[in-house]
Amino acid sequence: MNFADLWKRSRTGVFAVAMALVVGILLLLVAGANPFEALGVIIDGSLGSTARFGDTLMVWAPLVLAAAGLLITFAAGLWNIGVEGQIVFGAIAASLVAREVSGPTWLIVTLALLAGFAGGGFWAFLAGLLRTYGKVNEIFGGLGLFFVAQALAVYLVLGPWKRPGVASTSGTEPFPRESWLPTLGSTRLSWVAVLVAVIAVLVVFYLLRGTRFGLRLKAVGKNMRSAFLLGIPTGRYMLAAFALGGGLAGLAGAVQATGFHHKLVPSISGGYGFLAILVAMLAGYAARWIAPIAFVFAMLAVGSTLLPLKLGLDSSVGGVLQGVLVLFTILAQGWQARRQNRSDGVAAGPPEPPIVPGEVG
């Protein structure tokens, strides 16, 4: 690819980041802060030391896992908004293992991760069943299941898994140390979490790029009717996409529970599912961009927690900056799609959300 091509492909992203930067700076000025100081705090707060770099990677890992899972469902044209619920259910499944299984760490951790994958996959599979057989749009089915998973977590934390003598939504008793994801030295950085995230991205990249499964999934996503007529069992492929994508989200939940909180809390997902949707959109649904974009988000999230401490800014500034970034990327994408539309008649950009439940048969 020559330089001009590269520029053509990436200019939307560059434009979005530049615009976000400008508006972010303006916002910081309005909030009464020196923008460059703020930027410095964010960078220092996320990369400034080994420990902070580790903290950032611990946010990065679940974000990448969830986003990688979303690429699969997006490829199949599905708006898996229920990803949050899949993270929660994966975390619940992993917590079950972490609480109940005793043995060497490698065994518990392996089982917990597997359980997370299975749990998230199962939860997404339910949304898939609702979609393919119940004709319930996956956005609504997914959201409904998210609330169910959330309620289940609250129930477990307040009920069967409550701490002795306590019934508080603040979480279960911490897991025994053997069930914590192993970390590097004395840092909080779990190499297992990072490794799992890296593998997930590679697998998704390969799956969508180099396999018949991925190609068929894309066909289903872009034109279900044609895909069906080509002999692809569209229902089954959608279910598979849900199960795989949900499985990766469930892994994110397992990492959150066994590697970050070391216990089950009701808000175990940390909102990373919704954030991952934005990561996937910003990445233009391409696996190779997931890791760097998620890293920027993780930096913003972790680094901006220091803004109130160092600059006395409100703690919501980080969230606002993320929002600005997302807004401009979406605007830029829309702008690019329009331009492209006009210049060669091909609609580019994200799959349209399927508002009307599509036909399967």
């Binding site: 707060g45 030391s49 420990a51 903290d55 946010v59 609330f147 959330q150 309620a151 609250v154 307040l158 409550k162 002795p164 003598g165 306590v166 019934a167 508080s168 939504t169 603040s170 979480g171 911490p174 004395s186 909080r188 970050f260 909180h261 070391h262 216990k263 809390v265 009701p266 808000s267 175990i268 997902s269 940390g270 909102g271 990373y272 993780a298 999230a301 972790v302 927690t305 220091l306 109130p308 401490l309 160092k310 703690s315």
Partner: protein, 401 residues
């Protein structure tokens, strides 16, 4: 040494200690350049629990010249990317030489932080990790605990309710269930029952019910809605609502009913100015006052004699609103009638002098098991680790139901 000699020595010692406590230790040191960190569970301006800590920190900073670094909203919903131990590490990296973790929820994180930073003194407020005789002694030399004896505040709140209720039915809007909250509900119940029977000479049993919403404040989707809970109480005949949560829904709802002509009252919680939302029907409010204890701790760290202690501080019975001394306060509200006010003062005096000790047997737990045998006075241990609600209260216990 004879026993009288021992007691005399002791007496002198206690007197000295009292004087020291009253003026000595609370005398602020000059702590210019000293930084302490404060981790809050909610927003620093929540008009409740978190604000009380925040203001205590400000109070200390003002008196000593120390600098406070605050991280608020530290809970997994508002700050998913950081756990308490990470926040503590951030504060330490910013120069904090003392860290306050001010919520019951922060146990796991602050224990981890204390373990990882053995040289930095820390306080876990409302906890019991430094209580050698407690159930959860952690043995960490750098982690102390502070708590106020809010059971007295709740007894007063309960008494005010017992003196006021017309229907003989009181509702308690409770947060989550644990030892602390059960202890407080039991205290309010005992206070209400005592005043109902003693001052009003009623013989019909008092109806006292609690509904737990699931957390310290309303989180839609996670907890019950306290507004709804309050209205359900009022609809079922309760005419006084006692709040055990951080926010003021019970008072607000009762205020609305009162403005429609109903005879209902409420007792809020946690914040000195809480009555402001519906002053006419507010019977008063008990509140925590962390300032004196935090000042003492900052002093000890600056002076280099910090000890990881478990503190459970009582009120200043002489003046329940002297915020330079008392660990918990009570302000009466406009809703309290003159008669009731007089009885309440009598009750408070009785508590202060020790004439009234409501944690005296016979008292049974909800499931009928004996909490205190006839004539038995409860130890700190028995009060702190309250396993169930008392017999006579309607509502769920953490370990019972």
């Amino acid at each position: 040494m004879s026993t009288t000699k021992v007691s005399r020595v002791l007496l002198v010692f206690v007197a000295f200690a009292l004087i020291a406590a009253a003026c000595g230790d609370s005398e602020p040191v000059d702590a210019e350049g000293f930084k302490f960190g404060m981790i809050l569970v909610g927003p620093q301006n929540d008009h409740g629990w978190s604000q009380a800590h925040y203001e205590a920190g400000q109070y200390v900073a003002e008196l000593t010249g120390a600098e406070m670094i605050v991280q608020d909203k530290v809970n997994p919903s508002d700050l998913p990317e950081k756990t308490v131990d990470q926040v503590a590490a951030d504060l330490i990296a910013l120069g904090a030489e003392l860290v306050f973790a001010t919520s019951d929820d922060m146990k796991d994180g602050i224990l981890l932080a204390a373990e990882q930073n053995p040289d930095v003194p820390m306080i876990w407020s409302s906890g019991d990790s430094a209580w050698e005789d407690g159930k959860a002694f952690a043995g960490l030399d750098n982690l102390g605990n502070v708590m106020g004896k809010m059971e007295f505040g709740k007894m007063i709140a309960g008494c005010a309710a017992g003196l006021t209720t017309q229907t003989g039915s009181i509702g308690y809007v409770g947060p989550l269930t644990n030892d602390e909250t059960q202890r407080l509900v039991n205290s309010a119940y005992l206070g209400a029952k005592y005043c109902w029977e003693t001052y009003r000479e009623e013989t019909t049993p008092l109806d006292f019910a609690v509904t737990w919403i699931g957390f310290w404040f309303n989180i839609p989707g996670f907890t019950l809605d306290p507004t709804q809970v309050s209205n359900e109480f009022l609809d079922s005949g309760a005419d006084v609502l006692i709040s055990g949560i951080d926010t003021t829904e019970a008072l607000v709802e009762a205020g609305k009913r009162a403005s429609e002509g109903e005879a209902v009252w409420s007792v809020p919680y946690d914040f000195e100015g809480a009555c402001a939302e519906a002053p006419d029907i507010c019977l008063g409010t008990p509140y925590f006052n962390w300032g004196p204890a935090y000042l003492e701790i900052v002093n000890s760290v600056v002076n280099g004699d910090f000890k990881a202690e478990w503190q459970w501080n009582g009120p200043d019975w002489d003046n329940l609103t002297d915020n330079t001394k008392t660990a918990l306060g009570w302000v009466s509200g406009d809703g309290l009638s003159a008669d009731a006010s007089a009885d309440l003062d009598d009750f408070i005096a009785g508590l202060g002098s020790g004439d009234i000790n409501l944690f005296t047997g016979p008292l049974n737990y909800q499931d009928g098991s004996v909490y205190l045998a006839d004539g038995e006075e409860a130890t700190d241990f028995q009060i702190w680790y309250t396993e169930q609600l008392l017999e006579g209260i309607t509502g769920e216990s953490a370990s019972g139901g």
